[in-house]
């Protein structure tokens, strides 16, 4: 087991060493820093022109035990190996030849064996799938489906309610009958009498199919009708006149509405 672990560590270490760039290598086009210890502390950057493949900026100089520590900042525009002596000089302008062959490297972005050709663009078979546009379209479809579902279920519910209402709503003749029976028995209170008067008026308005107009005009038209007029006057005498109406008058007034069956009502 130990042997296996040792082998894995060794292989991994070897691979890491093989893929890592050299220690003094710097990326192309990106400013990077490097600290170098030199014997003298008075080096200054050499002036450069606009065609230089490398820019060197001197950040800080501080004394250390074995000389002076220089903080350099590099920006490389072309890959290659550069001598430090070509970018520094003495304060009097003389070249810093004593730096010898101290170099640093600017690495390449592409592999060394790249032939320079660009990567060919291969369009995807479903270019829109998973994009923002498809997300919006999907949300739109869901929104529309939601409305359709609401309309569908609402329509179904209303239809059911209409059926229930149609089934439950009695016609005017059926609504009249219980009030007429109570009145004939002398058990109708004033609230019931008011409702009976409304229903009888509505019944005759409905039956004569009067054109829709002011209620006062419709009542005046009912008064002029030979049958309805008599009923309205009899109702007024019974329900509103201080002397009221006799039992016989009430009986004869309500008789046509007491007979069971729709056909019996005049």
């Amino acid at each position: 087991m130990r042997t296996l672990v040792a082998i894995i560590v060794l292989v991994h270490g070897a691979l890491a060493l093989a893929t890592e760039p050299p220690e003094d290598s710097h990326a192309l086009g990106i400013e990077e820093g490097n600290r170098v210890t030199l014997e003298r502390g008075d080096y200054i950057p050499r002036p450069l022109d606009d065609r230089t493949p490398l820019i060197v900026r001197l950040g800080e100089v501080s004394p250390v035990d074995d000389g002076f520590s220089y903080q350099f900042h590099f920006i490389g525009f072309e890959p290659g190996e550069y001598r430090l002596a070509d970018y520094l000089m003495h304060p009097d302008g003389s070249p810093a030849t004593e730096l010898g062959e101290r170099t640093f490297t600017v690495g390449t972005i592409l592999p060394n064996d790249h032939d320079g050709s660009l990567t060919e663009f291969v369009p995807s078979t479903v270019p829109w799938f998973g994009g923002y546009r498809i997300l919006l379209i999907a949300l739109g479809i869901v929104w529309i489906l939601g409305w359709i579902a609401l309309a569908w279920f609402g329509r179904r519910k209303r239809t059911v309610e209409d059926e229930v209402t149609a089934a439950a709503e009695p016609d005017l003749a059926e609504q009249l009958r219980p009030y007429v029976e109570q009145a004939a028995a002398g058990e109708l209170n004033s609230r019931g009498q008011a409702e009976l008067e409304r229903l009888l008026t509505a019944y005759w308005r409905d039956r004569l199919k009067l054109p829709q107009q002011r209620m006062a005009s419709e009542l005046a038209a009912l008064r002029k009708h030979p049958e309805a007029g008599g009923l309205i006057q009899a109702l007024e005498r019974w329900l509103h006149h201080p002397d009221g109406a006799s039992d016989d008058e009430i009986e004869s007034l309500l008789a046509p509405y007491r007979t069971s069956g729709k056909e019996a009502i005049p």
């Binding site: 004033s190 609230r191 009498q193 008011a194 008067e197 409304r198 008026t201 509505a202 308005r205 002011r214 209620m215 006062a216 419709e218 009542l219 005046a220 008064r223 007024e236 329900l239 509103h240 006149h241 201080p242």
Partner: protein, 323 residues
């Protein structure tokens, strides 16, 4: 049949008919207001004989008549009166305003500022006026007939619902029929000139009003007493209560009728029954008066107005539920 009716109502109607052509319903509403002591608001365009009718009724019943043309620069004291310093005696003297009359015509009431409207409406409600520290009762009977022009709204102050509620009736005056209008023209042609102080001007309908009253205050009071005896059945009151309830619960309504509306319907229905020579009220009175009693007391909701619904249509819908 009511005994005093022919003498009072018919006499006043005939007198108005001598001067005004048509407008029978308006005269009927004025009679109702007079008989119940309720105030009347007339909505109508200018030239529909509002002032002429009020003037004629006042003279026919021998009532003290006052007319105030409301304007924006009026003050409450212009209506109610004020205390003036009598320089001779050095004491304050009460000057009573035009409100101290039996029948006050408040012309174009919506042109006055709200404080003036409030002062008048308060006097209408309480039937007394406070000037300085003293309270003065208004003459009896006291009736205000106010007018509003529904067309010109620039420079007007609309009466709020709470103040409109003080008016028992609000009647919308329509134009006369073509035949009636022709009769008006023919009458005007035959009026001739009025000679005054050596000069002359063409006579107007106001010059045709007779100064001789057809009845007096005792007749009016007797008629008012008879109105109070008109029978109102329990069933009729149920109809009234149902009407105001429906206005409050209708989905298109933001503001329904106040309890004062139900009281106004019953009072006005009694007076109408008297005018129609009945001693009991019927649903016909309710349906005839509903528009004048209810419409100025209700307000439709914003949604109903946005749908283009009108208060009169909603009221008719309610009335059709009642009958």
């Amino acid at each position: 049949m009511i005994a005093t009716q022919p003498h009072f109502v018919t006499a006043v109607r005939e007198r108005v008919g001598e001067v005004v052509v048509g407008q029978d319903v308006v005269v009927e509403r004025m009679m109702i207001a007079l008989l119940t002591g309720g105030h009347l608001l007339l909505l109508g365009v200018p030239g529909t004989a509002k002032t002429l009718m009020v003037n004629t009724v006042a003279k026919a019943v021998a009532l003290k008549f006052g007319r105030v043309q409301f304007t924006i620069d009026m003050l409450p004291s212009d209506i109610l009166g004020s205390e003036l310093l009598d320089q001779a005696s050095g004491e304050f003297r009460t000057h009573k305003g035009p409100v101290f009359t039996n029948l006050l015509l408040a012309d174009e009431i919506n042109r006055a500022a709200p404080k003036v409207q409030s002062a008048l409406l308060e006097a209408m409600q309480e039937r007394k006026v406070t000037i300085g520290n003293a309270s003065h009762p208004l003459p009896t009977p006291f009736l205000v007939i106010a007018t509003q022009n529904p067309v010109e709204q620039a420079g007007t102050f609309e009466l709020p619902e709470a103040q409109l509620d003080r008016f028992m009736l609000c009647h919308r005056i329509g134009y006369p029929t073509p035949d009636q209008e022709e009769t008006v023209l023919r009458r005007q042609l035959g009026m001739g000139l009025k000679h005054v102080d050596g000069g002359a001007v063409p006579k107007t309908a106001f010059d045709m009003i007779s100064d001789e009253p057809v009845c007096g205050l005792p007749d009016l009071i007797a008629a008012m007493e008879t109105v109070q005896k008109v029978h109102v059945s329990d069933v009729f009151m149920k109809h009234c209560v149902e009407l105001v309830r429906l206005t409050r619960e209708h989905p298109a309504m933001e503001l329904g009728c106040s309890p004062r509306a139900a009281l106004a319907i019953v009072q006005a229905a009694r007076a109408r029954a008297f005018v129609m020579e009945r001693d009991f009220v019927t649903p016909e009175d309710l349906f005839e008066l509903a528009e004048d009693v209810v419409l100025h007391r209700i307000r439709l909701s914003y949604e109903a107005l946005a749908e283009g619904r009108k208060p009169e249509d909603v009221l008719e819908e309610i009335l059709h539920q009642l009958g």
